[in-house]
């Protein structure tokens, strides 16, 4: 049975279990009625339904996570070593053939008999697997429901049990955040460690040359590939730096203007308009940067005669940085807005009463009081700029130049992750694993920036009141 059928059947069983449990509780209560029951009939029904659903759902979940891998391994055994060698030692290619054959995309005549046999085996195993899963899941559901149903008696503390299950389910959902973090750390860490077993950490972190193209065939020239990530870090910092140069002054001034100068009506008008900027998908910014901004920047560079001293590329760091800066303006402004409004009225009024102009109040009172929060928001904006992907993928280049020239094309960590991983790839090659190592760096840096931002805000926050 397909999972699209299995799950509704399970749901139906649960509903039946609920009804059965509920009516059984009323039946065992007998003439005394509901009053002699420990809990309301609803709880007896729910308890039965939980016992029906939870064990079988757990089985289905674990089963469907691991069945693919297990079946794959059983079929691997059937593929003759000669076939693997024929495909250049690439078991993945052979397995693709087997899968295509099994799905009916290929005809059995076009491949070797051993592969056809493997495909037949795959089809058979998958059928067995589906029925076995159905059988096991349904029997778990039935046995669970019947056991719970048999245990129903007026003394059973159904309410307490149901509340416990409810609470544990909620806890499990909340713990998913921890699980996700562990998943992220594990996935980037393990692959990175495999990468570092091929390429030394020092070469990765301090090497000046990045050209991850490893040879497809062993006899190709220049096949080594070099993985020095410094040009990527420099490119990332250059673009993020340009973005921050745009976003921090603008965002901060917007926040100051809206909190200190603008009338409430103006504020209510401008704030949502600027927040639209934050809601636009990054792919739209990327398109804008590549199509509109980049040519303008290039022409400007050429018209100013800069091409005599500098390389001017059509995919400039400046274009990507400027557009990214626009994107994070609302981010900076809304974060700074919050910290500026948190500065107590009495401080500002005191300064105004002493005869300061408004700008002096802002410069001498508000900003110093809100400084930790502003620094925090700048750090968060930096972390956002470093992790931004689509704008740089579309508007910055692929060439790993080590340059500080904003008109030149540079590449970033995120661009390289995307380039290395998009398309079909082998999990084993250093090229693929390099993307995970870059991911690890990115994760550590953004996490570090976030922690640092929170730390600064916590440590230096002034407590008024």
């Amino acid at each position: 049975m397909e999972s699209s059928v299995l799950l509704p059947v399970l749901a139906l069983l649960c509903a039946l279990a609920f009804v059965a449990g509920r009516s059984r509780s009323l039946a065992v209560a007998g003439v005394g009625g509901m009053r002699i029951l420990n809990s309301l009939p609803f709880y007896y029904g729910s308890l039965t339904a939980f016992w029906c659903a939870l064990p079988s759902l757990a089985v289905v979940l674990i089963w469907s996570i691991f069945d693919g891998v297990i079946i794959e391994n059983m079929v691997h055994a059937l593929v003759p070593p000669a076939a693997v060698e024929a495909a250049g030692g690439n078991i993945g290619l052979v397995m693709n053939q087997v899968r295509n054959l099994a799905a009916g995309h290929l005809s059995a005549d076009s491949v070797e008999p051993a592969i056809a046999a493997a495909a037949d085996r795959l089809v058979a195993l998958e059928r067995i697997n589906r029925w076995a899963l159905t059988g096991v899941a349904l029997s778990f559901a039935l046995i669970g429901a019947i056991l719970a149903w048999l245990k129903i008696n007026p003394q059973l503390r159904a309410r307490a049990k149901v509340e416990d299950i409810f609470r544990w389910t909620l806890l499990a959902c909340a713990s998913l955040a921890i699980l996700t973090t562990i998943g992220i750390v594990m996935s980037v860490l393990f692959e990175s460690m495999r990468f570092f077993s091929k390429v030394p950490v020092t070469e990765f972190l301090f090497g000046l040359e990045w050209s991850p193209q490893t040879a497809i065939r062993a006899d190709q020239q220049g096949s080594s590939g070099s993985f020095g990530a410094v040009p990527l870090f420099a490119g990332t910092l250059l673009i993020a730096g340009i973005a921050l140069l745009v976003a921090v002054p603008t965002g901060l001034m917007v926040a100051i203007y809206l909190t200190e100068y603008a009338s409430p009506r103006m504020r209510n008008l401008i704030k949502p308009v600027l927040e639209i900027l934050a809601g636009i998908p990054t792919v739209v910014y990327g398109f804008f940067a590549a199509l509109t901004v980049a040519p303008v920047i290039r022409d400007m560079g050429v018209n100013l005669g800069l091409d005599e001293w500098l390389t001017i590329s059509s995919e400039s760091a400046l274009a990507a940085g400027l557009v990214m800066g626009v994107m994070i303006i609302p981010f900076v402004s809304s974060l700074s807005d919050d910290v500026i409004t948190a500065v107590p009225r009495s401080l500002k009024d005191g300064a105004l009463g002493l005869g300061s102009t408004r700008s002096e109040v802002v410069k001498l009172v508000v900003i110093p009081a809100a400084l930790p929060g502003i620094v925090g928001s700048v750090l968060l904006a930096a972390s956002r700029a470093i992790g931004e992907t689509m704008i740089v993928v579309m508007a910055a280049g692929l060439a790993a130049n080590l340059t500080a020239n904003p008109f030149d094309s540079v590449t970033t960590v995120t661009v390289q992750i995307v380039t290395l991983l998009v398309g079909d790839q082998e999990f084993e090659s250093a090229k693929t694993l390099a993307a995970f190592a870059l991911g690890l760096v990115l994760f550590v840096v953004t996490l570090g920036l976030n922690y640092f931002a929170l730390y600064i805000v916590r440590k230096y926050r002034e407590q008024y009141e």
Binding site: G68, V69, F166, R167, T169, L170, L171, C173, A174, S175, L176, A177, T180, T181, G183, I184, M186, S187, V188, E191, P249, T250, G251, M253, V254, Y257, L258, I270, L274, L277, G279, P281, T282, V283, V284, F287, F288, L291, V326, T357, R358, S359, K363, L380, I386, G387, M390, M394, T414, I417, V418, L421, V422, G423, A435, F436, L442, F443, T446, L447
Partner: protein, 431 residues
């Protein structure tokens, strides 16, 4: 002593008055910087929208060419128009070529003929086939149709109307033919229905966003079904049950960290865990939905917690006071009252997920897929990824289609955000 006492106020006033001009100047400049910053933000937004809309509006129109065609059974090699197999293999391109040769009898040489045939899209022949399938009695008859033009003709005609003709991909002979067609009223633009009714294609004039839109909806469906209940459950736990201890703190730290992790990292997680470890297939909405679920969970948890916090404690106390259990208190009172706020948060989270591109590139939703997906385990792409793919294509006609697709994406986002604002205004209670 008395001397200075008398003079001091006067001197201070002098100092203040002399500095006033400078201070007011500084004040004005500061205020001006503020205005400039706001203007920069608003202008950037306006420029962005202007660029997208001015480029994208053309994408909703498509050039068509009027031709009189004969469904000649001999050319088509179809004896019976009701036989699906024969119709499938029919030589409809031959019919189109014959009609073009008849329209432009002066073109005789091979090269010229080939150039002439290229002004119509290969999609024109497919359209004719569909027409014959619908109306088998057309076989042998002569009809006049508006047929789909090639993307180069489309680009040339549109640029011609704007006054600066883009001739790089249109030969002079073609320009003459096109002018002849324009003069005869046989070339015009129509609403580009294909954009909304077909999947991706390598021919710009035949490419549509239906496949991507369906892929996006399927992905969002998976995301919503998973992230909303889990997010709400996590928020209820943290607000109503969680004891103040290190484990709870740890959960909270993790949630706020995940909210700040770059989205591409979630793509790496999906690639390594869902595809690498669990062996799920690439490019399917199910995996995309799982990745986006993990990505949007922090947003949904945080907004749901705020909604739950906004329910006054008196309601909880009243429920507990008349004997409700904690679960009853939550299910019967807290959740219904917090639901509008939680839904608002969920819609905003979904809007975020709809615009997300990078993590989906990692799990292979970037493949070229022509078919419209039928379910969550069919290979699919999503709207933002489609935009990315088209923006990468060299054909000029894809530029306006990319902008048109962006307009559709923005329209979806505007609808979702309006719905969220409406829900908040309409349903949220104030105590």
């Amino acid at each position: 002593m008395s001397n200075t006492n008398k003079k001091a106020p006067a001197r201070t006033m002098d100092l203040v008055e002399r500095s006033l001009a400078r201070r007011y100047g500084a004040e004005k400049r500061f205020r001006f910087y503020g205005v400039i910053s706001v203007v920069i933000g608003v202008l950037a937004l306006a420029l962005l929208f202007w660029e997208i809309f001015s480029a994208g509006l053309g994408g909703f129109r498509q050039t068509h060419i009027q031709l009189t065609l004969k469904f000649d059974p001999d050319v088509l090699e179809i004896a019976d128009a009701r036989d699906a197999r024969q119709v499938q293999n029919g030589n409809f391109e031959g019919v189109v070529r014959a009609a073009l040769a008849e329209r432009f009898p002066a073109v005789l040489d091979r090269g010229g003929r080939r150039d002439l045939n290229g002004i119509l899209s290969i999609g024109a022949a497919f359209d004719l086939r569909d027409k014959l399938v619908d109306e088998p009695e057309l076989l042998g008859q002569t009809r006049t149709y508006w047929l789909l033009a090639d993307d180069d003709v489309d680009t040339y005609y549109k640029s011609l109307r704007e006054g600066n003709a883009f001739t790089a991909r249109t030969s002079e002979a073609r320009q003459v033919w096109i002018q002849e067609l324009i003069d005869g009223g046989e070339l015009r633009t129509q609403f580009n229905t294909r954009l909304f009714t077909s999947g991706d294609s390598s021919e710009p004039e035949m490419a549509g966003i239906l496949g991507a839109v369906v892929g996006s909806l399927l992905t969002l469906l998976v995301t919503f079904i998973l992230s909303f209940p889990i997010g709400v459950a996590a928020a209820v736990y943290l607000e109503e049950y969680a004891p103040r201890n290190r484990f709870t703190d740890f959960i909270e730290v993790n949630i706020s960290n995940l909210a700040a992790v770059p989205s591409i990292i979630f793509g790496l997680l999906g690639l390594a865990i869902f595809i690498g470890l669990f062996g799920m297939p690439r490019s399917i909405p199910l995996v995309g939905g799982l990745v986006l679920t993990l990505m949007t969970l922090p947003t949904i948890i945080i907004s749901s917690r705020n909604a739950i916090k906004a329910v006054p404690p008196s309601i909880r106390e009243a429920a507990l006071g008349i004997g409700a259990s904690k679960m009853q208190m939550i299910l019967h009172h807290v959740l219904p009252l917090a639901m509008p706020g939680m839904l608002t948060g969920a819609i905003i989270g979904m809007a975020q997920a709809l615009g997300e591109t990078a993590p989906l590139l990692m799990i292979g939703m970037v493949a070229f897929i022509m078919d419209v997906p039928n379910g969550i385990s069919d290979p699919a792409t999503v709207l933002p990824v489609q935009i990315f793919l088209w923006s990468d294509s060299p054909e000029r006609a894809f530029v306006e289609r990319t902008s048109a697709a962006i307009m559709v994406l923005l329209a979806f986002l505007v609808c979702m955000n309006t719905l969220a604002v409406w829900l908040r205004k309409r349903l949220e209670r104030r105590w």
